[in-house]
């Protein structure tokens, strides 16, 4: 057995402590620098006029009114398409397929792959299918449809979780009462699964709003107020991109637009987290 054991550990433990705290300090400092910069430069520009007025002088002056409208429309199209498909798929996967079913496994696999596809590839796809093949051109509709494809995996995953969280007892009692599965679904399960659905919805909105690469060649660059879904419209993220890269002197408004976008997203993701913790009793992470 061991007779003499020296303690020479303090050096290593101390070094480890310093390393860990330094890492945390570095990360905190970097992020605070970043956030602070955005807030500092952006806050001064924000006003009600900024949020409602149209951009002038290629966006150097004026506001982001039409852009907010376009963004909202693109989001609307995205959700209108992805919600029914997403919820339907989630319901099928959660309620009507077993783990062994081939259809179920294939669908899940393909959704997993879909969630790993880079956003620029979605842009290429959207351009090829919606703009060219379906002839929609650069439009809000094309952009929304492309984003719907991107958002589907998130929506489906979260809604499925929502359904799985519903206790098995509900389904068994419903069956014992002789209720049809359709009735059980619409009157019992769907309402109970709403938290999961909401979380997925909110996460999806967050992802879609942040998206830029998929929209550049699907919804276009036009910064006027759109008049129909077939009009080209500029989303907020594209506006920031354009102001910073293509418009000299556009930095001030770019900061302000960035602040608006960041504030909106923080609100969205914060809501999703809160919903998940309090309704689903689960911590989610918006990676």
């Amino acid at each position: 057995m061991v007779k003499t054991l020296e303690r020479n550990l303090d050096g290593r433990e101390l070094f480890a402590s310093i390393l860990v705290w330094s890492a945390a300090a570095l990360v905190t400092a970097t992020f605070c620098w970043f956030l602070g910069d955005i807030i500092w430069h952006g806050l001064s520009q924000i006003s009600w006029t900024f949020l409602t007025a149209p951009p002038r002088n290629a966006g150097r002056e004026g506001g982001i009114g039409p852009i907010l409208v376009s963004t909202a429309l693109i989001l609307g199209v995205c959700l209108a398409v992805s919600l029914p498909i997403g919820v339907g798929t989630a319901v099928l996967l959660a309620e009507f397929t077993t783990d062994a079913s081939l259809f179920g496994r294939l669908t899940r696999r393909s959704l997993d792959v879909l969630s790993g596809v880079p956003s620029i590839v979605f842009g290429l796809f959207g351009n090829a299918v919606f703009c060219k093949m379906l002839g929609l051109g650069f439009s809000i509709l094309s952009g929304g449809l492309t984003l719907a494809c991107m958002v589907l995996p998130i929506l489906i995953r979260s809604t499925e979780e929502g359904f799985r969280a519903v206790p098995a007892g509900y389904r068994l009692s419903a069956a014992a009462l002789g209720l049809s599965r359709t009735t059980t679904l619409f009157h019992l399960l769907l309402p109970a699964a709403v938290p999961g659905l909401l979380v997925g919805l909110v996460l999806g909105v967050g992802r879609a709003t942040a998206e830029t690469a998929a929209l550049i060649f699907t919804s276009g660059y036009v910064d006027r107020m759109p008049e129909s879904l077939l009009d080209s419209g500029r989303a907020l993220s594209i506006h920031i991109f354009d102001l910073s890269m293509n418009v000299s002197g556009g930095d001030a408004n770019a900061y302000a637009s960035a602040l608006v976008l960041v504030a909106f997203l923080l609100l969205i993701n914060g809501t999703a987290s809160w919903l998940a913790e309090h309704w689903l009793h689960r911590r989610i992470v918006t990676i």
Partner: protein, 279 residues
């Protein structure tokens, strides 16, 4: 304790007497008026007991009486639980364990612990034993290898695992895992071992093997064992202490030699419990 089998060709080895005559007991761990609170809830209150060196002391009583909490306070594992307060005095060989400047790491080398559910690390068998040794300062490869073989022989695992020391420890059976955990604790040369129902998560066969092992450790180690199994306590304990819930927290009802507790208990509660009428 049965010493390890000596190498082939050396002198023959005679088995040690399993029940040597009792020697004069010397207190090793002295507990005075120990109380423990989890936040506002008391786990046990005002426990005073003396644990004798080299003997097996059984802590018995129904669940929820604070036996496990008492055990974990002895090696200051309660420090890890947020909101846990311990008051009173614990002396190990005269050393005050609850003093703020006590070297907890050194303490936990002197007092080892075996948990109810076997918890080998998610590493190989060899690494499970090697890692704590290295961390406590032993670097010599040969010494480590010798220690590993010695403790594995002492717990009776050597023949079973000598060919697969690099296999994952989690692949072993429950009984083997528990014996591995005991080997891991023994490798650090502790003076006392705290065991929290070490056999309750094992099947009867493994349970018997582990129990025999514990008996074999007597005299060389001071053993404190929490057990629900009265029959087991009767079989192996030299001393016993009964815990019970009274006034909303655990209390030490009676303590004494095993013979006295199980055959001539003084307190009526003890008498009722050991005869199976209560608890």
């Amino acid at each position: 304790m049965r010493p390890s089998t000596p190498a082939e060709g050396t002198q023959p080895w005679a088995p040690l007497d399993k029940n040597p005559a009792r020697y004069v007991p010397k207190p090793f761990i002295e507990v005075e008026q120990l109380s423990l609170h989890y936040g506002q809830k008391p786990a046990f209150h005002d426990v005073t007991v003396s644990i004798n060196k080299g003997c097996i002391t059984a802590l018995v009583g129904p669940s929820g009486c604070g036996k496990t909490s008492f055990l974990t306070s002895l090696n200051r594992l309660t420090d890890l639980i947020p909101g846990c307060r311990v008051s009173g005095r614990i002396r190990l060989d005269g050393l005050d364990l609850l003093a703020p400047n006590t070297d907890v790491i050194r303490l936990r080398r002197r007092i080892g612990m075996i948990f109810q559910k076997p918890n080998p690390f998610p590493l190989s068998i060899r690494k499970n034993l090697e890692f704590p040794l290295r961390e406590h300062g032993l670097r010599d490869r040969e010494q480590i290898a010798i220690t590993i073989e010695t403790v594995l022989r002492d717990v009776g695992l050597w023949d079973e695992v000598k060919d697969r020391l690099n296999a994952p420890a989690l692949a072993l059976s429950g009984g083997q895992q528990q014996r591995l955990c005991m080997a891991r604790a023994l490798a650090l040369s502790p003076e006392a071992l705290l065991m929290d129902e070490p056999c309750s998560a094992l099947d009867p066969l493994s349970s018997g093997v582990v129990e025999d092992l514990i008996v074999g450790l007597r005299n060389h180690y001071t053993i404190l064992i929490v057990t629900h199994n009265l029959a087991q306590a009767r079989r192996i304990a030299d001393y016993a202490a009964l815990f019970w819930v009274q006034n909303g927290s655990g209390q030490l009802i009676e303590t004494g030699t095993a013979k006295q507790i199980f055959e001539k208990p003084r307190d009526p509660l003890t008498a009722a419990y050991v005869s199976g009428m209560r608890g």
